[in-house]
């Protein structure tokens, strides 16, 4: 009796062709939307591309990378990106986790609260940036009114004119949206947690913190890894919220790398330099994501 393709691990020619046909549309879409632009960007980064884009221009090797890495503007922007990313990843993950745990409890109006969680996530980044710009406005913004009401300040303050508070506010605005996304994913993870695990632990005398640490967190690990990696990638690629709120200002206080890329590629149309910046940012985001996955799983192996 001939071995079946599945049992041997090898597919016959017809099945292989069928598989190729099934995946071909997705492959073509990925190639068009992802592979071609990526290859082009790398190619542009090695040339002095004219603004009109009618040719690649002269080949300059790694010169664009040398210019970028030798520029204080790049390093300043990289630092701002790093600070923004750290705040964004930590707080959106933590707030998302908090919201997920809260919304996993039984209380009146839970359904409505869960529905509300989707609203920030369903709002486009750009709209959120514009909303927060108005909210933080120094003369008519609601944030000042709230802080005054709470007694936290004594007068209206122009947050967006201060380099530090402008950066903090862009982080808060971005976290406000991303935390709901993290919350949705983590809530989905929590809902798969069998209740009898917690009940058994309670019977054994485990407290709330112990149950959270030894049952909930390990159970959520795969979801947390996904959320954290996505948050890192979102953080490094963040553009819309910051651009809408500050356009990178005041000064260069909120000029993350994506805004610098936008300026180089679309403002002053130095396509080679802008592409080199984009390649570097893409690499940083990729490395950040991979490193996080590695660190989280190493920690898991060590604790196992």
């Amino acid at each position: 009796m001939a071995a079946s393709p599945t049992s041997s691990g090898a597919l016959n020619r017809g099945d292989r062709l069928f598989g190729v046909k099934l995946t071909a549309p997705a492959g073509v879409i990925l190639a068009v939307l992802l592979l071609i632009p990526t290859v082009l960007t790398i190619l542009y980064s090695l040339h002095d591309v004219p603004a009109n884009g009618r040719s690649l221009g002269p080949f300059v090797g790694l010169e664009n990378y040398t210019i970028v890495l030798g520029s204080s503007v790049f390093w300043r922007s990289a630092w701002v990106t790093f600070v923004f990313s750290v705040g964004f990843v930590i707080f959106s993950t933590l707030f998302g986790l908090g919201m997920a745990i809260l919304l996993n409890q039984r209380f009146v109006g839970r359904g409505l609260a869960r529905a509300l969680l989707i609203i920030p996530w369903a709002t486009p980044w750009l709209v959120i940036g514009i909303l927060w710009k108005w909210f933080a406005d120094g003369s008519v913004g609601g944030l000042n009114a709230v802080l005054l009401m709470l007694g936290a300040t004594t007068d209206y303050y122009d947050f967006m004119a201060d380099p530090n508070s402008a950066l903090v506010l862009t982080i808060i605005a971005a976290v406000w949206r991303q935390a709901s996304f993290a919350g949705i994913l983590l809530l989905a993870g929590l809902q798969t947690l069998p209740e009898d695990l917690n009940e058994a632990a309670s019977l054994d005398g485990a407290g709330v913190f112990q149950r959270f640490r030894n049952i909930t967190l390990p159970w959520l690990k795969p979801a947390l890894v996904t959320v954290t990696v996505l948050n890192i990638i979102y953080a490094f690629l963040q553009f819309d919220v910051i651009f809408a709120m500050t356009q990178g200002g005041p000064g260069d206080a909120t000029q993350v790398l994506s805004i610098l890329i936008y300026r180089q590629l679309f403002g002053v149309t130095q396509i080679g330099l802008g592409s080199a910046l984009a390649v570097i940012l893409g690499f940083i985001a990729l490395a950040g994501g991979l490193l996080t996955v590695k660190l989280l799983y190493r920690a898991e192996r060590q604790s196992a």
């Binding site: 503007v73 790049f74 200002g249 005041p250 002053v268």
Partner: protein, 445 residues
């Protein structure tokens, strides 16, 4: 159709046709050769025009008027002013063929060099258009090599808007003109608690470059020579200008929010009496007055710079690179109508912009046109604005050089660092000089 074709060629055949037909329109055509808006254009297709979103309905109405005179239809696309330049460049790079488009003056030579816009030399009537301009304005449209690179969309001069009531209350006899006078008057108003932050300006990042020129010109410094050398670096007064700028912000004579406030908000600040001085384009007097705030009627306009110059600006129209001669001639005809005069020699389009927002045109004739004079509200001192265009203001020719957009993009960060106290005036001079030099060298961040 053959005869129609001939009306569009250089050499004045169209004028003869008009003479044959007789009448006032033909007379105007004789008086103003090469004028726009002639009927029965040879090109029968649709022209494409791209503008930013200042009064889009008015743009369409004006262009519709041109079409109604027997000219081709025009497809007008309008995109937001914010991000206009990146959007336009992306479209052109992607292969969009746009016959006529708005552009920022600082982009104009770059667009010629990149093959996105055409030089206007040798087009019928173009020399007359240039000759019609204020001499002070010409270098914005004609480069050092004599290439005519754009036509005016609108022009303006930087002026001081001041609250006359507040000045009188503070015992200040005349509106301040020099930077020192502006500082002293602002301090007096603040000390007397008449207004907390007396001075406002549009100091957002993208606009700092305009103020750089305005303030330097106020002290008699032209930032760049015609070759683009940053000569401000060699002038000992430059550091003083930056020290003044920093003091105005650090001492709270300007509100902290000016780093982000848009001009609409600043006009309202003046209308509400929350500031006494506002330096920006002359036409912001329209905004302040039309807001009808409690102090709107007290806001007047005066020149700045003392015996020196103020800054003259103007955004431009550029003609796309059009191979087809008939299409190009039709687009040029539209350009003349939109950026100069109609076939009757009237400033139809500029008159409309004057009515709508107090915008001006860089033509002496504009300020003498009875319709234009009627279009400006009484609160404008039109002879003063005209005189400021003629002898009291300068354009900076280097602003149209191909490297300039790169420098322009860098100025905001450097000036904000100065205002925020992160850089000294001396360091600011060095940083701006380095920015200008690196922009001229080519690729730099």
């Amino acid at each position: 159709m053959t005869s129609n074709n001939s009306t569009k060629r250089p050499g004045g055949l169209d004028r003869r046709a008009f003479l044959k037909a007789g009448g006032a329109t033909a007379l105007a055509a004789i008086l103003a050769p090469g004028l726009a808006g002639r009927a029965e254009a040879a090109f029968s297709g649709t022209l494409d025009m791209l503008a930013w979103d200042f009064q889009p309905d008015t743009i369409k109405t004006l262009v519709g008027e041109w079409t109604a005179k027997g000219n081709p239809a025009v497809n007008v696309a309008v995109i937001p002013n914010l991000g206009f330049s990146p959007a336009l460049q992306t479209r052109l790079r992607g292969g969009d063929a746009i016959d006529l488009f708005y552009n920022f003056a600082y982009n104009s030579q770059k667009f010629i060099d990149q093959g996105w816009a055409a030089k206007l030399n040798d087009l019928p009537g173009v020399d007359d258009m240039v000759a019609d301009m204020f001499e002070s304005a010409r270098p914005a449209y004609v480069n050092a090599a004599g290439d005519i690179i754009s036509a005016p969309y609108f022009s303006a001069v930087h002026m001081m808007h001041y609250n006359d009531r507040m000045l009188k209350e503070a015992g200040i006899a005349a509106p301040p003109q020099t930077l020192q006078e502006i500082h002293d008057a602002s301090k007096a108003l603040k000390d007397k608690k008449i207004v907390d932050s007396p001075y406002v300006a549009y100091w957002v990042k993208e606009f700092c470059e305009e103020y750089l020129h305005t303030y330097l010109l106020n002290e008699g410094i032209t930032a760049f020579d015609t070759a683009g050398k940053p000569v401000f670096a060699d002038d000992p007064k430059t550091e003083g200008v930056f020290a003044w700028w920093q003091t105005m912000y650090q001492d709270g004579l300007a509100p902290k929010s000016v780093l982000n406030d848009d001009p609409g908000k600043l006009s309202n600040v003046m209308a509400q009496g929350d500031a006494a001085f506002f330096v920006l384009h002359h036409y912001f007097l329209t905004s302040i007055r039309s807001l009808n705030g409690p102090e709107s009627a007290n806001v007047m306009q005066s020149p700045i710079g003392g015996s020196n110059h103020t800054f003259q600006i103007g955004e431009v129209l550029q003609l796309g690179q059009i191979e087809d001669e008939e299409r190009r001639n039709a687009a040029w005809d539209l350009m003349k109508f939109y950026g100069w005069k109609d076939s009757a020699g009237k400033f139809t389009v500029f008159n409309q912009w004057a009515k709508a927002a107090g915008l001006a045109a860089p033509y002496p004739g504009f300020f003498k046109d009875p319709d234009v004079i009627a279009a400006f509200p009484d609160y404008y001192d039109l002879p003063l604005i005209s005189k400021t265009f003629e002898t009291g203001s300068k354009v900076i020719p280097a602003r149209t050089l191909p490297w300039y957009p790169d420098f322009q993009a860098k100025v905001g960060d450097i000036v904000h660092a100065l205002l925020l106290g992160q850089a000294t005036p001396k360091k600011t001079v060095e940083d701006l000089t380095a920015a200008a030099n690196s922009a001229q060298k080519g690729r730099s961040l």
